[in-house]
Amino acid sequence: MLEGNIAILGYGLSAIGPGIGIGLIFAAYINGTARQPEARSVLQGIAILGFALAEALAIFGLVLAFVFM
């Protein structure tokens, strides 16, 4: 038996988009590193920056889930 708050579902929904986005970013990073291993250090910074920016929506979702609880 489970009792809870609908706001948590909102967090789940808001995590879908960033999940796909972050997956694409790291897929591109791994591809790039596999093709050209010496570019790794350059790509790493870009990948992590993209990851941090794509994550924003999921973070809003998490915070709002607790705000509306």
């Binding site: 038996m1 489970l2 009792e3 809870g4 708050n5 250090s41 910074g45 992590i48 920056l49 990851f51 941090a52 994550e55 924003a56 973070i59 809003f60 998490l62 915070v63 607790f66 609880m69």
Partner: protein, 260 residues
């Protein structure tokens, strides 16, 4: 918290929630995060003072640690984001932000402290406010107040017809939402990490004590996994300090760069 999960063994399991990062004051309104915050300033100050008190050409262990922290921020974060001579004046800020956020995050891993200070939203808001003031002031002193707003809100090469749409959106994302996402990113990551650990530890304990036969098996597994997760959290804690500093540098660099 209204969320309750009924477990098989009877009795109620109270899952950890927002309450688990709010601590009652010890004396006169002084809480655990406040003490940790002051402690972090002392740790960083004493560390750098000890390391660089008598700098030598061939560095000792502490001096090497301090110098590689500085090098790390300068070479892997600063140089990518802020171009050329502009980096020098902002390097102290970047090193300060990096060490401050890192020490406060790693508290989550230190036994007996076990609380990342940044899991309390007030503290990231404060740092993000400082960063917001710095990058806006930097941009305004470089381009002038109006020129800076134009620089941040209307990217070059946008057709005139779309400008009424682009300018409010860019203003929203570059000026208003940036400090919010910057602080919430740090807060939410630390808070979620702290909560996941609490769920594993408290849930494991509950299963072990009240979970019946199945709980006797699942409880210890959860407790062992909580130790694994703690090391994973250590990675996240470092990564968040890195990301926070990188975004700070990125915002400052973006505000300073010339029009193309």
């Amino acid at each position: 918290m209204s969320t309750r999960v009924l477990a098989a063994g009877g009795g109620e399991f109270q899952p950890p929630g927002t309450n688990s990062v709010i601590y009652p004051p010890f004396v006169a309104g002084i809480t655990k995060p406040m003490v940790l915050l002051v402690l972090s300033i002392i740790i960083i100050g004493v560390f750098f003072w000890l390391a660089l008190r008598k700098p030598s050409l061939v560095p000792g262990k502490t001096q090497f640690a301090a110098e590689s922290t500085y090098d790390f921020v300068r070479n892997t974060i600063g140089r990518d984001m802020i171009s050329g001579k502009d980096l020098r004046p902002y390097l102290p800020l970047l090193v300060t932000v990096f060490t401050f956020v890192l020490v406060n995050n790693v508290y989550g891993f230190v036994p007996f402290l076990q609380l990342p200070t940044m899991s309390n939203p007030g503290i990231p808001y404060g740092i993000a406010l400082v960063v917001w003031l710095v990058y806006n002031a930097a941009g305004m002193s470089r381009h002038g107040a109006f020129g800076y707003l134009k620089h941040q809100t209307s990217p070059p090469g946008v057709p005139v017809g779309i400008k009424p749409l682009v300018i409010p959106l860019e203003f929203l994302s570059n000026i208003l939402v940036r400090p919010l996402t910057l602080s919430l990113r740090l807060f939410a990551n630390m808070f979620a990490g702290h909560l996941v650990l609490l769920v594993f530890i408290m849930g494991g304990e509950y299963l072990l004590l009240h979970g019946g036969v199945l709980g006797m098996v699942a409880g210890p597994v959860a407790l062992v996994l909580s130790i694994v997760l703690m090391f994973f959290e250590l990675l996240i804690q470092f990564l968040q300090a890195y990301i926070f500093t990188m975004l700070t540098a990125n915002y400052i660099g973006g505000a300073l760069e010339e029009e193309h």
